[in-house]
């Protein structure tokens, strides 16, 4: 694929012009670094320019620096659609609706947990279910599950699995409005009802991390987010809506497959199947998608509740002494109605973020009061060998990318190739030699998630920092990892 027609808007932004392929309604913008740009798969360009062809899309289709091939949208794809004549597409949200990250801080330091590392890892592994067919520790009635999917993390507060402070520091306070359980199939309910409080498998994980002083890029912002002490212990959770969200995506892909003709919608890729936002099918999918998003907020909160229980038991300290508090919880597979200025006029748009994180800057009413003068936390998950990064949202993101930024390191190698390159036991030993203890139900799965299967997290973080859509705050390094 020739990239000669791409216009370099800045050192880190390439624009694919509207005449790149027939049917594009807006240009596509690739956010990257010169080094990462050369390694972007042509299929990513093909996918993001397909997104630019969708009806009602505004301004541009964006691909973040961690972008890689997905279904329909690339992972790292962001697009906003007009409410009146735009579309909603499961392929722009992902199967794992509201897959996201929760980051917790603690009052502990590395020296304090070192004597109990193996016991802590074993206790977390036995308390937080993971892997194929795992069942959650919460038994839900049908009525309770309906309430959970419509109210999200609020259900956890009502049932003593959350604090009010937890809710304050979850995107949308852990509840997307207009969730309607009547838009959800019986199948989705029966897949999801026993999975609340589970991690899942694949690239989902629970990680205990350390924040060394030398990993802090911005002391003021780090302190504002509660990262205040050298070698402070943090906990990162990466998971989503489990089988519940996947069933909702499957159900509505089948609905959209059959109804697109009725609305005269044609897409360049079947995975971009869509319905008008303003249609019965589109509205029902949004309501069901909101149920899945809420279940994911609740799922991560239930895991937090399990983590607190483990830490209380292992360290013999109270919640107050341990200080396990939510820094923030972000969704990185979701569609949300947000207001932006388009051609001098404020419009409500449905922003699709697929493998992309909201990155609202200072002053936005949607972010917690405590962070409103600096911007929201942006949590970036890396591979299990390299840890994660904390960034901060910016006004530039609000103005340029519909308040969006990256979500992770971005995968570059297939699972099978990774397994051919190394064995799980070798990865485990290498991690142990680096001071990281890991536990999983399926050892070859470790090879699939090895660091070399991902882009360099520091390179993608540096790219968004340079572009200005998020600001670097701190890097965290893993010490314990449970791979789902």
């Amino acid at each position: 694929m020739s990239r000669e027609s791409f216009k370099r808007l800045s050192n880190n932004i390439w624009e694919v012009p509207i005449d790149f392929k027939p049917g594009m309604n807006v240009p596509a913008r690739i956010l990257s670094s010169p080094e990462l740009f050369d390694s972007i798969d042509d299929r990513v360009i093909d996918q993001i320019t397909n997104v630019a062809c969708l009806p009602g899309i505004k301004k541009a289709a964006f691909c973040m620096p961690d972008g890689h091939v997905g279904y329909g949208f690339p992972i790292g794809g962001v697009a906003a659609f007009a409410k009146d004549d735009g579309i909603i597409s499961p392929g722009g949200i992902g199967f794992d609706i509201n897959c996201g990250m929760r980051l917790l801080r603690t009052n502990l330091t590395l020296d304090m947990i070192k004597p109990k590392m193996e016991y802590l890892l074993a206790s977390l592994f036995s308390t937080i279910p993971s892997g194929v067919g795992s069942k959650g520790f919460v038994k839900l009635s049908r009525g309770s599950f309906n309430r959970l999917m419509e109210s999200g993390a609020q259900w956890c507060l009502e049932n003593d699995f959350a604090t009010e402070t937890d809710l304050e520091f979850i995107e949308n306070q852990g509840c997307i409005e207009n969730a309607d359980s009547s838009a959800v199939s019986e199948k989705a309910i029966s897949r999801g009802i026993n999975q609340m409080g589970t991690l899942g498998s694949g690239n989902h994980y629970l990680e205990v991390e350390v924040a060394p002083r030398e990993g802090v890029f911005d002391q003021t912002l780090a302190e504002k987010f509660g990262v205040t002490v050298d070698d402070q212990i943090l906990i990162a959770i990466h998971c989503g809506s489990r089988g519940f969200g996947h069933q909702i995506a499957t159900d509505y892909l089948q609905v959209f497959n059959k109804c697109m003709g009725k609305y005269g919608l044609e897409v360049r890729d079947r995975e971009l199947m869509s319905a008008p936002i303003d249609s019965d099918e589109g509205r029902r999918y949004f309501r069901a998608m909101a149920c899945a998003a809420n279940s994911a907020f609740a799922n991560r909160q239930l895991i937090v509740s399990g983590i607190r229980r483990v830490f209380r038991s292992v360290f013999g300290q109270s919640d107050k002494e341990l200080g396990i508090e939510t820094i923030y919880d972000v969704a990185h597979n979701i569609a949300k109605f947000e207001k932006y200025e388009i051609d001098g006029r404020e419009e409500t748009l449905l922003v699709h973020r697929k493998g992309a994180t909201r990155s609202f800057g200072p002053g936005r009413a949607e972010i917690p009061a405590q962070y409103r003068d600096i911007g929201q936390p942006v949590i970036v998950g890396g591979s299990m060998e390299t840890g994660s990064a904390l960034l901060c949202g910016t006004k530039y993101a609000d103005d340029e990318t519909f308040g969006s930024s990256l979500h992770g390191a971005g995968r570059t190698m297939s699972r099978m190739k990774a397994k051919k390159s190394t064995r799980g036991e070798q990865v485990r030993q290498r991690m142990k030699d680096s001071g990281i203890l890991v536990k999983t139900g399926y050892m070859p799965g470790l090879a699939e998630e090895a660091a070399f299967a991902y882009k360099n997290i520091d390179a993608v973080v540096e790219a968004v920092h340079e572009i200005g859509i998020s600001k670097k705050v701190a890097r965290f390094y893993p010490v314990l990892n449970i791979k789902g």
Partner: protein
């Protein structure tokens, strides 16, 4: 082997290429491939039984529904398929009747690999080429 587990076209997931002399064989072999992605099949008992009936407008949509159903019963009914017998008929629509034997999910007895969570439409296809039915599917993990 009538199926081949492949590198997915996206790096995060897993694909399956399958062929068979009849649609029934194609469907059964794809189901066996799906099981092998999730679990070591030799660790599965054959004691649980399940009957399924599905129908759809096209054979391709039926193939999608069939694989989605197997993922669904893994989560909702705790059932991992080991073997199946199935029949597909076409009247106005395509109808599938299947009889499955398999096992409940049990990490103590089985080597569980990775949780397959959805069937994608990414390069999804089923077609008859000369005398052989061929299918391709990518699963979301």
């Amino acid at each position: 082997m009538p199926y081949k587990i492949t590198d997915a076209h996206t790096c995060a997931d897993v694909g399956l290429s399958v062929s068979g002399e009849t649609p029934e064989q194609l469907f059964a072999d794809a189901a066996a491939g799906l099981t092998e992605i999730m679990v070591e099949p030799k660790g599965l008992e054959n004691e649980k039984k399940l009957s399924l009936e599905l129908e759809d407008d096209s054979l391709e949509e039926l193939f999608y529904s069939w694989l989605s159903e197997l993922i669904y019963i893994k989560d909702a009914r705790d059932f991992l398929m080991k073997q199946c017998r199935l029949k597909i008929k076409k009247n106005n629509r395509y109808k599938l009747a299947a009889y499955l034997t398999g096992d409940n999910v049990d990490p103590k007895r089985q080597v569980l690999k990775v949780d397959v969570k959805g069937v994608t439409y990414y390069r999804f296809r089923i077609e008859k080429i000369e005398d052989t039915w061929q299918g391709e599917v990518v699963f979301d993990l």
